[in-house]
Symmetry: C3
């Protein structure tokens, strides 16, 4: 029976325009020999200041202060350690070089000599990564995610800050799957833990977290049933057994100038967590009488189809026009897929009858009784034919 | 009849690679007590300097100059106002704090005492938002949008700067739906008004504008019919009755250093409009004879399917291979969906004939005349058999 | 025969979550009269420091140093050249102005007078673009692309740094379609050449390069067959005959402050290449016995369907449940599309038999022999009936 619902119905997909904005909050202090006592706020650890669908929060860093253009010894590794200038090729530069070799072999420290390079000096030494993470307190920072969706076809739009959310609630709430499932403010530590990872581990080398917003909408009479649900997943898979080039980091610099005009910079190798907000969704539309029945199947189907990032896929299920001709002028009825589905369905029905006959003929007892019934009309037909000949 | 067109044809969707670049232009001056006379150009109000599919233009700001690391009283609110140090917990920091409490209770101004914090001092006071917007002149800034699309399957590519657009025209034109529908340079004020909003209102708190580029392409013989059309929509829905956390803003800082090495910064809370460029599209392909007939349906169908952001969906309608075998080697023919559609179609046809018979036999008057015709071939067949036996 | 495979199978599409991170490496030196000897590293030429799916590398630039807020003559063009103050409208500003006209007409150089503007002075003169590109050495920079994919439906995830890639290999390798097809480190020059363009030409005016990662996955027993393949394409089409507003560039500034607090900046008009990483993909699933057979068709089909940027489309081909009922509880079986496809197929079969009969009866010689065979079963049947009556 339920198959008929599908024969009669057809499915169309809608695409949705989604916009996302994010805002991080949180302050922490660090006290190190190099930097001394220092406060870190949003403007310090969010790089760049704004992005379209993601937000990077620096959790760990290797800072190289007061770099100036000049000449200095390269970091020692098997390619740069030298005994004499003969070992250094002027103008050469490897993939991992910090500068262009001058051809001189100079003292790196008391014992080791390396090739001199023209570079921002002193060159960065990123051999030792801070553990625990330099900004480990980022675990308690919060992230506000604002998401607006719009279904062009249904001209239906909604935001994840639901109508019943007040300013006071938004000032104080934090997302919790159980107690506050609709609060769009997330504690960073909780996001990572919900994905089954340790924030402090992730904070050291950095990584990518996906914040998935699932819109599961039923666009019948009331739109209040269209609600977001949040899920979290670490997007940069870490196979512990194959830990090649893990985490996420990049370099940026803050440039300063002396009155003399000589420029110097502070180079920062920033490790951190990038939060990519991915909006999923589906919308089901059904005339209320059928809604209850097909809803379960619709959700099941949609689960099969899986979510589509950046692109909400909306499934509208219609009863066909024989039952709801009103849909025809509703402009939401599409004949093509209906034809295809109905066609397939009818073919199946044909087969079904054939199968029935086969089963009945060869598998059932007392099959001749059945046969009689089945071919009774043939006799009628002969009679009809006979009657005709009489004319 | 028209159903046959659909039986014979089949539909496949293509995905398209799109690239977008933007460039803003415009200069304005402000004259305030804090900043004095100041000129603002692109490098000042576009943050960050470049993004993949969007552009942020700062329209309003709260600027806090010469912040340095230190200790200062927190902004007064119900959690920070204090009578004595007893009210301030050292090391504490709320979600909305500007720093970490030192535990001291100090004078904020002549009358109010608040908890002291370690922070970038002085702390930002964003309680008063400039009205009208600080950079209200942004209404007259212009935005050049360059968009290239490429359909891999048809290996068809085009840009929104059409071949007939000259450098001189591009230097002077501004988009207008009526007079200049193909000029890719948009006046910001016009974009917002086209979406039915007031630029000056939006400029105060900021927001997200969607610039939709619709490519409606008919890839028959001539590709000159493949033209972009532009539409505008505000993506961050504002329900005036539920105005919780409206607009769009973020914080960033410009860092300076004294010769002494002491760092200071200018913190800017930037309100502004982010323009997200969303590329939609569809492409219809038909052998010319059928083009005119099906085009209407195709467009209708495409309208049903709705646009897909970030992902152009191309619908190619083909006449089936019985009619255009050439398509087979054209490499654009796909047998699977054709089979499925033709199959469904045939099932429908079969049912149709059956229905006809039923109707004719049992509903029509003079049905036996009809039956004669229908079974006439049987007699022919017998004759044929007889004739054969004669051999 | 092969049609049956398709009758039995059905196709469903999956969407995939993909995350991309990039890291550029490379250093170069320049020696110009304005800048003197200068080293350029990642923090200097990557703007902004990180993006979600793309990376911009500056290859050419027009630098204007030590700009300060003030008044200076505008660049001469047909709108700004003046003879007297009468030619300059105070407060006016054109689309391409660098500032707001003061109304005075001043000397631009010994011979030319232009309208004075309030602007960042001196105004940028971008009339002469450096040729060859200022950072032409960027051709030898390298780009590491890390990509993780995840199919929600199959809960299958993989990264483009394959398990057999060692840290040592990753330190030294460079992508080559033939020798190192799985090395995720690309030489910029090679990327552009692979797309059929000249890096040095592109470096001058800038442009957009697409790095396409195609995941062609066969999720049968072993997942080691799921491998990425890389392809490159220039996304900003250049029609040499219609070279209006070519390339890609934007402006940004580095801000400095004197002890006096007076701010000055260095304005950079950055030309460069933006590398957009676009992830394509498909996944085929088949029970091994059929895998070999259908794989070819699957790949063919997927090729027809074309890639979908930002959104991997996964095709799972199943043997139907009559043959592999185990799939039913595997939770990967979807009854709806199977019904539709099987339905269509059966319709086709029905037609096929009819066609055969028609052909045989009316086109073949010795058709009565055939007829005998065709109706032989009837006699068998009668016999069976007879035998039954004996009971």
């Amino acid at each position: 029976m339920w198959v008929f619902v599908w024969e009669k119905g057809y499915q169309e997909t809608d695409s949705v325009v989604s916009s996302v904005t994010t805002k991080a909050k949180g302050v922490t202090v660090t006290n190190t020999s190099t930097l001394g006592f220092r406060v870190w706020d949003v403007a310090d650890y969010v790089i760049p200041a704004q992005e379209e669908n993601s937000l990077f929060i620096m959790t760990n860093m290797i800072i190289t202060m007061n770099q100036t253009q000049g000449f200095c010894p390269e970091l020692p590794d098997k390619t740069t350690v030298c005994k004499s200038d003969a070992n250094c090729v002027a103008g050469s530069s490897g993939t991992h070089s910090n500068g262009i070799a001058t051809g001189r072999c100079v003292l790196f420290n008391g014992t080791v000599k390396t090739c001199e390079v023209a570079a921002w000096c002193p060159v960065e030494d990123d051999s030792h990564m801070p553990k625990p993470a330099f900004l480990k307190a980022a675990e308690n920072f919060t992230l506000l995610v604002k998401n607006n969706i719009w279904y062009p076809k249904f001209n239906f739009s909604k935001r994840n800050i639901l109508p019943n959310i007040t300013t006071t609630y938004l000032k104080s709430c934090t997302y919790d799957a159980v107690t506050d499932p609709f609060c769009p403010i997330f504690r960073l530590g909780k996001i990572v833990e919900s994905a089954g990872h340790s924030f402090q581990d992730m904070a050291i080398e950095g990584g990518i977290m996906g914040i998935q917003i699932n819109w599961d909408c039923n666009l019948d009479r009331t739109s209040s049933l269209c609600l977001p649900s949040y899920s979290f997943r670490r997007l940069d898979t870490r196979d512990v057994d194959h830990n090649v080039s893990p985490g996420y980091n990049f370099r940026f610099a803050k440039y300063y100038s002396h009155l003399t005009g000589a420029e110097h910079r502070t180079l920062i190798k920033a490790y951190g967590i990038r939060f990519d907000i991915i909006v999923f969704g589906k919308v089901a539309w059904l005339p209320p009488p059928l809604g209850a029945l097909v809803q379960t199947q619709a959700s099941g189907l949609a689960r099969d189809k899986g979510p589509s990032p950046h692109l909400l896929s909306a499934h509208a299920l219609y009863h066909d026009f024989f039952f709801f001709p009103c849909h025809l002028e509703a402009g939401k009825f599409d004949i093509i897929p209906t034809m295809i589905n109905v066609g397939s369905g009818l073919a199946l029905l044909g087969v079904a009858t054939v199968l029935c006959d086969v089963i009945v003929f060869y598998c059932m007892k007392k099959r001749y009784y059945y046969r009689e019934k089945k071919y009774k009309y043939v006799e009628d037909y002969e009679q009809g034919l006979g009657g005709e000949m009489d004319q």
